[in-house]
């Protein structure tokens, strides 16, 4: 009886916590910190359906047929299973508590230092062709990275003075003078985040910014080795933007 009672209400409580947190993130404009915007509608609709089920459950009397299930497992196994379910529920409550305790946030720049820069989403081809014909005023860091990776003409790159906002990744080869200003590109959720960025030359930058901090950089592209770097004319620390990812 007690097991059936707990099993019934634990599901309702956990659903309310998970779906409630999802809806709260959506209403506060922070759902984008965790998943791609293309999934917003689906995620919120399913969370709303889950909440509707929770409300209906509270309104109608509990169906008790399963209270009479035969006890097919030895008591020890049931105890162990109960403990496991308790631990698992505890993890979910802990995640909810952490979500409440910490401000929802993007992945930090330190995770990017362990991943290849510009390995994802830098496909060139049609993307680069479309970008070459577009107005660069609205270009994201990913757009510039695509253009540079695709070998954009010097006329395209030298004629602009872009202003980029991203987090700092120290250049492992020339840490004193260059860094990458980067963002994470995601295709589904934060788990598939890959850093994309543009190399910036600014000698002595480490006295002004920490690796992983958010900066706004402005400058002109200049050729270097077999690529391009942004020769910074100004660079200021800024707060993390409301939409930190690019898509």
């Amino acid at each position: 009886m007690r097991d059936a009672f707990l099993k019934y209400w634990r599901g309702i409580l956990l659903t309310a916590l998970g779906a409630g947190a999802t809806i709260w993130l959506a209403l506060s404009g922070q759902l984008g910190l965790y998943i791609h915007p293309r999934y917003f509608a689906f995620t919120v609709v399913m969370a709303a359906i889950a909440v509707a089920f929770v409300v209906v459950t509270l309104l109608i009397p509990r169906q008790r047929d399963h209270d009479h299930e035969e006890p097919v497992e030895p008591r020890r196994t049931r105890r162990r299973r109960g403990r496991l379910a308790g631990v698992a529920s505890g993890v979910l409550v802990l995640l909810t508590a952490v979500l409440l305790a910490l401000p929802p946030t993007t992945l930090t720049g330190s995770l990017a230092s362990g991943r290849d820069l510009n390995a994802a989403g830098i496909t060139g081809g049609e993307d680069a062709l479309q970008l070459a014909q577009a107005d660069p005023a609205g270009f994201t860091i990913k757009d510039w990275a695509v253009l540079i990776a695709d070998g954009a003409s010097s006329r395209t790159l030298e004629s602009v003075e872009p202003q980029l906002v991203g987090f700092v990744i120290a250049d492992p080869d020339q840490p004193e003078s260059t860094f990458a200003v980067a963002r994470y590109v995601i295709t589904c959720c934060a788990v598939d985040a890959q850093p994309v960025g543009v190399t910036v030359r600014l000698p002595g930058w480490q006295e002004r910014f920490a690796s992983g901090s958010w900066v706004q950089v402005q400058g002109r592209f200049v050729p270097q080795d077999d690529g391009w770097v942004l020769e910074a004319s100004s660079a200021e620390p800024v707060d993390q933007p409301a939409e930190p990812y690019v898509y």
């Binding site: 099993k7 019934y8 209400w9 634990r10 599901g11 309702i12 956990l14 659903t15 947190a21 999802t22 993130l25 759902l31 910190l33 965790y34 998943i35 689906f42 995620t43 609709v45 969370a47 359906i49 889950a50 089920f53 209906v56 459950t57 109608i60 009397p61 509990r62 169906q63 047929d65 399963h66 299930e69 097919v72 196994t77 299973r81 308790g86 698992a88 529920s89 505890g90 993890v91 979910l92 409550v93 995640l95 508590a97 952490v98 979500l99 409440l100 305790a101 401000p103 929802p104 993007t106 330190s110 362990g114 991943r115 390995a119 994802a120 295709t187 589904c188 959720c189 788990v191 598939d192």
Partner: protein
């Protein structure tokens, strides 16, 4: 016939305190969280690695939750609202053909792998053999239109990656399904509690209090699946920050190690099969095609999150066999692609 339970003994004060402990701890954690939030007023009090682990875990959970809810809803439709004879009529009688058709069910129900777990549970509760539900569970994440289209968008026809993934997924799922169909006691594949739940389901007549049964089923399924999902997400998030990815990437150019390394990565990252091809693009220039195929096949069927979810339904021994066979078959598939491509 139902067994009659002896009346429960009155709870002692110690046991009553034990019952109250968990809700009190949960309440204290939630209130503590709110307190820390109010006191901290922004900023990140955790070290970067731990904060990233938490962000990744929450991200996987929020991404998976709607699919779990959708899967539970479909499971309720199959268990309570769909007449059993419809399913029987729709499926062939010949076992291998029946499993073949079930492995294509994902074309009609394109939810990601975690959403397929409640649906597979619903199919078993409706009378399908556990071996048949395993075939569906393994095949559906790959043999569905969303996965096929995204894999094509990412890789086109290059190196036969798309063909190897689709055909490989079909063959591996049916191989595992056939293997489990040889088990003399199908009920022994399931956990005792789920087997009991299925037996209880069969005792209900159709049309009997469907709405209240639907709500009860929703509560029970979420009660079983959500804690498992939370644990799977927490492990996946923390492992990702614990294992440096460059270790795996360093193995990319070796025909053997590229396959093994990407299978390990697939198991850890627990990414949704609908979009894993885009994620894999990041490694396209580093790893050989066989490794990519192994990632796309193995990861869609088995990962940390899926193992946690499967534990709600199948015995540990059965899950170990599923992981082993899917792993070996994916390894062979990956090596074969490396050899041919």
């Amino acid at each position: 016939m139902k067994a009659t339970l002896a009346p429960a003994p009155a709870a002692s004060p110690v046991r009553r305190r034990g019952r109250l402990l968990w809700p009190l701890v949960a309440l204290a954690l939630v209130l503590g969280g709110i307190g820390v939030r109010l006191a901290a007023s922004g900023g990140a009090p955790l070290p970067d690695a731990l904060q990233d682990g938490v962000t990744l875990a929450i991200s996987v959970f929020i991404e998976s939750l709607p699919f779990i809810v959708l899967g539970v809803l479909l499971s309720i439709v199959v268990q309570i609202w769909l007449p059993a004879r419809w399913i029987d009529r729709a499926l062939p009688r010949t076992p291998w053909l029946r499993r073949g058709v079930l492995s294509l069910l994902g074309i009609l129900l394109p939810v990601c792998e975690c959403g397929n777990v409640p649906l597979a549970r619903g199919l078993v509760a409706r009378g399908l053999a556990p071996a048949e539900s395993i075939t569906f569970l393994l095949a559906a994440p790959i043999l569905n239109p969303v996965t096929i289209i995204t894999t094509y968008q990412a890789f086109g026809w290059d190196h036969g990656i798309l063909v190897a993934r689709v055909l490989g997924g079909f063959v591996i799922a049916n191989l595992v399904g056939w293997m489990f169909s040889r088990h003399p006691d199908q009920g022994a594949i399931l956990t005792p509690s789920f087997a009991a739940s299925c037996r209880a389901h069969h005792e209900h007549a159709d049309g009997d209090r469907r709405w209240s049964r639907s709500v009860a089923r929703f509560a029970e399924e979420t009660s079983t699946l959500l804690p498992a999902l939370a644990v799977g997400c927490a492990i996946a998030g923390l492992i990702q920050v614990g294992i440096p990815r460059e270790w795996l990437e360093a193995l990319g150019s070796n025909p053997w190690w590229s396959v093994l390394a990407l299978m390990a990565l697939a198991f850890v990252v627990s990414i949704c099969s609908n979009v894993d091809a885009f994620f894999m693009l990041a490694f396209g220039s580093v790893f050989l095609p066989g490794g990519i195929v192994a990632f796309l096949t193995f990861g869609a069927m088995v990962d940390v999150k899926m193992v946690a979810l499967m534990r709600t339904t199948f015995r540990t021994a059965a899950i170990a066999q599923i992981v082993a066979v899917v792993g070996l078959a994916s390894l062979v598939l990956g090596l074969a692609v490396n050899l041919i491509a």
